[in-house]
Amino acid sequence: MVQRQLSSDLLRGHVDTMILKLLQSGDKYGYEISKLIYTNSNEQYEIKEATMYSSLKRLEKDGCIISYWGDATQGGRRKYYKITPIGENTYIQNKNDWEQAKRILERLL
């Protein structure tokens, strides 16, 4: 598996929004989120655990998501994340901000 260093700083700034989007289709646990980011990016962006957790903790602190422990599976238990109404609003706002930034950057770059 090759790790592409594709403008990772640019992508990192949007991890919160990526996670909020993923949680809209249902509660997910950490590894599920990182796997989906990898596959949905066509295997071009592999998020580091540290990056993901700093985002998850921030989102939780801001009330965008809540977490709960699931039942134990083979080996260990998983902590699941759920989007809140605040998170839904933040997602819409971030998405709009991005669309606007994209239009501006396309003119400038």
Binding site: S34, A50, Y53, R58, K61, R77
Partner: protein, 239 residues
């Protein structure tokens, strides 16, 4: 190899093991990494390759630790009263007004704060064993790493009160009204909120096992927070 992974993750968290949030994050991270390791193995990686790929995927450890220690963002305001680092056992603070008071790192065991106005005050790393807060105004008061064992809370105001990393196990908040109160990284095991009213209350990263909300009224936001944490809300009225 799984033991090796376990040991690696454990060594990252070893300096932080006193914090409950660190222990939980360690458990969570290890579970992710074990599944990731298995997937790498299933995809044909050797044990060594899979181990390396898995450990590399952790990224910056410092970033991980910062996520545990999110800055407390309420401004430390100008001090009007500073009682920090004092032994004030059995003190009588009844009916006093100590806006912005600092009661940090002090022993206040069995002190009585009834009818006092503690708006914007902080109680960090303090011992409040068996203190009394009756008819107290706790607006925007911060309790952080405070020992609240056996504390009596009654008829108090909890607007924007913040309980962070506190042990509130078994405490009784029956019939109290909470507005924008935050319980963060705290244990509320077996705490009682019978017939309490909760509006915009947040329970972040807290232990809510066996918490009692019988007869409580709460708004939808609070309800959703608790529902996600699988708290028994059968006796709750939505307002």
């Amino acid at each position: 190899m799984i033991e090796k992974l376990n040991a690696h993750v454990h060594s990252i968290f070893a300096p932080y093991k006193s914090a409950k949030t660190a222990t939980e994050l360690e458990e969570e991270l290890l579970q992710n990494l074990l599944e990731k390791y298995d997937d790498h193995r299933r995809n044909g990686a050797s044990e060594q390759e899979a181990f390396k790929l898995t450990v590399d995927s952790i990224g910056e450890v410092s970033e991980l630790m910062e996520s545990l220690n999110l800055q407390y963002n309420v401004l430390e305001q100008a001090i009007s009263m500073d009682y920090s680092r004092h032994r004030l056992l059995d003190s009588d603070f009844r009916s006093v007004s100590v806006h912005d008071g600092k009661f940090n790192s002090c022993d206040l065991s069995r002190s009585d704060f009834s009818h006092s106005d503690l708006t914007n005050s902080t109680f960090k790393n303090s011992n409040l064993d068996h203190c009394i807060f009756e008819n107290a105004n706790l607006t925007s008061t911060l309790f952080k790493n405070a020992n609240l064992k056996g504390v009596t809370f009654k008829n108090s105001i909890y607007n924007k009160t913040h309980f962070k990393s506190c042990n509130l196990s078994g405490l009784i908040f029956d019939g109290e009204t909470f507005k924008q109160t935050i319980f963060e990284g705290s244990s509320l095991r077996k705490a009682s909120f019978r017939d309490a009213t909760l509006i915009n209350v947040q329970f972040r990263m807290s232990d809510l096992k066996k918490i009692d909300f019988t007869g409580a009224s709460m708004d939808k936001l609070t309800y959703n927070f608790l529902h996600g944490a699988k708290v028994d809300l059968s006796g709750v009225t939505l307002i």
